[in-house]
């Protein structure tokens, strides 16, 4: 096996060329593998770069701006009574611009451009009474009276009972075998109607919120009832679904308004009401038809990897009636 051991002759040495080719092939193979490995690492690096294009932030921004606008609408309505509707709109527009100027520089540091502006404002009427020791009759002490008509929507309808003992007791109620009718809020579109009766338990001081044909909820004494949110003292009340089954436009009225004591407030999407029911004094029922019911805002959220723009409705305490 002398020659296979690689005899040091010039002819025997030429066989190393084959080994050289083999080594070259191996080298090329390793380079190709390295290049491919690099490519895979790059892709896996891509895969770990953030889950998405910050779209969730855009959606959250829209919700934040709508919620902020809702608070501004409430603020304008509640703290600037007596001013005209145009003044309210101007105040809202200015406040939203301020909100935009406040948030835009903060998000800009993260490479995002934002913009929020008012597209349209819906006029409504703010109705209420802030005297805690008065019943819900109108200025002329009428017990059955219409708060407003031609209503396209109602929001933030809150009744705060300050003395439950003024409510009719359960055993005296006409539809339960007695002779008295309890305080009732009625929503009526001319064909269908929806009503909620409020009365007191005959053995305890609990207050019963009874939706006509829909079931009832029981709360402790002096509850705060949010009719449009469907809550009593902040707790959800299943049957309390304001205006369920009633189409718009509808009218809203109180019945037996002398059988309750406390204060109430609501905003309706309507400016149609009988002014003789109201005064300008907030200790008796009042109606401010210069109020803002709702606003539509335009929201833009843009960065290098996404553009998100849409109109958004801001209706504080909205219901679907």
């Amino acid at each position: 096996m002398a020659d296979l051991n690689g005899r040091r002759t010039s002819r025997g040495g030429e066989r190393a060329q084959i080994m050289l080719v083999a080594a070259f092939v191996l080298a090329v193979t390793f380079i190709a593998l390295a290049v491919m490995l690099n490519s895979v690492i790059y892709t896996e690096n891509l895969a770990t770069r953030g889950e998405d294009a910050h779209g969730s932030e855009a959606i959250a921004y829209r919700a934040d701006m709508a919620a902020g606008t809702e608070r501004l609408i409430e603020h304008v309505n509640e703290n600037q009574t007596g001013e005209s509707y145009d003044d309210h709109v101007a105040n809202l527009t200015t406040s939203i611009a301020a909100m935009d100027n406040g948030t835009a520089p903060i998000v800009a540091t993260g490479g995002t451009r934002t913009k929020v502006s008012v597209m349209s404002v819906t006029r409504g009427t703010r109705i209420g009474q802030f005297n805690t020791s008065r019943n819900f009759t109108d200025v002329g002490a009428t017990t059955d009276w219409e708060l407003a008509n031609s209503i396209e929507g109602t929001r933030a309808f809150r009744i705060n009972i300050t003395d439950s003992s003024q409510l009719v007791e359960e055993d005296l109620i006409s539809f339960l075998g007695g002779s008295l009718d309890p305080f009732t809020v009625r929503v009526d579109d001319g064909t269908d109607d929806w009503a909620v009766r409020i009365y007191e338990d005959d053995t305890t001081t609990d207050v019963i919120v009874d939706v006509e044909g829909g079931g009832e909820c029981v709360a402790g004494s002096d509850p705060e009832i949010d009719l449009t949110a469907g809550t009593i003292n902040g707790e959800p009340c299943g049957p309390l679904s304001f205006g369920d089954g009633v189409s718009t436009p509808y009218s809203l009225r109180y019945e037996q308004a002398d059988q309750i004591q406390g204060n109430f407030s609501l905003v309706v999407d309507s400016t149609s009401f009988t002014s003789s029911h109201y005064s300008t004094d907030e200790d008796t029922p009042f109606a401010d038809d210069g109020a803002i019911y709702a606003a539509t805002i335009y929201v833009l959220h843009e960065s290098a990897d996404h553009v998100y723009a849409t109109d958004a409705e801001a209706i504080p305490g909205e219901n679907d009636a």
């Binding site: 296979l4 083999a22 491919m36 490995l37 895979v40 892709t43 998405d52 779209g55 849409t310």
Partner: protein, 156 residues
């Protein structure tokens, strides 16, 4: 005992020709074996890496479509929804195409050109997604005027 150097240079019993043929054959066999094995190995690894890359890209595009869908669901009027993503134009040295197919239940199909490998990526959507086909590279998912989502080529 043999004396040292007694058989040095002893060629007896071995023909020089046979010795050469034997040596060359073994060396060639080794080299050819190396060629075949390394070639197959590289090809196999390349296909694996193309598949892995396209799976990642497919999932990323699916994420973008899902995101655009989620964003589109929260819009009303005056809406604009665009989601951009910068993707490589080639995977492991070959071009590829991205297509949305499947009609009412759309899904993504990514196909590389050479070797031809196909990878699918599923996504769930509520907004309709238009069928489309485009070459690999940067893309955008656009919410069109007809209220559908479309995967388009991005200029950036």
């Amino acid at each position: 005992m043999r004396k040292k150097g007694q058989f040095d240079g002893d060629d007896r019993g071995v023909s020089m020709t046979v010795s050469y043929i034997l040596g060359l054959s073994i060396a060639f066999l080794l080299v050819i074996g190396l060629f075949l094995t390394a070639g197959d190995f590289v090809t196999e690894q390349r296909e694996t890496s193309i598949r892995t890359e396209m799976e990642v890209l497919g999932e990323q595009i699916a994420t973008d479509i899902t995101l655009a869908d989620r964003m589109a669901q929260t819009t009303t009027d005056n809406e604009t929804v665009v989601v951009r993503r910068s993707l490589p134009s080639r995977v492991s040295g070959t071009g590829y195409t991205i297509s949305v197919t499947g009609g009412d239940d759309p899904y993504l199909v990514l196909t590389s050109q050479d070797p031809e490998i196909t990878v699918e990526a599923e996504f769930s959507n509520q907004t309709d997604v238009e069928m489309s086909r485009l070459n690999g590279g940067s893309i955008l998912v656009n919410y069109t005027d007809s209220d559908t989502l479309e995967v388009q080529r991005s200029d950036r």
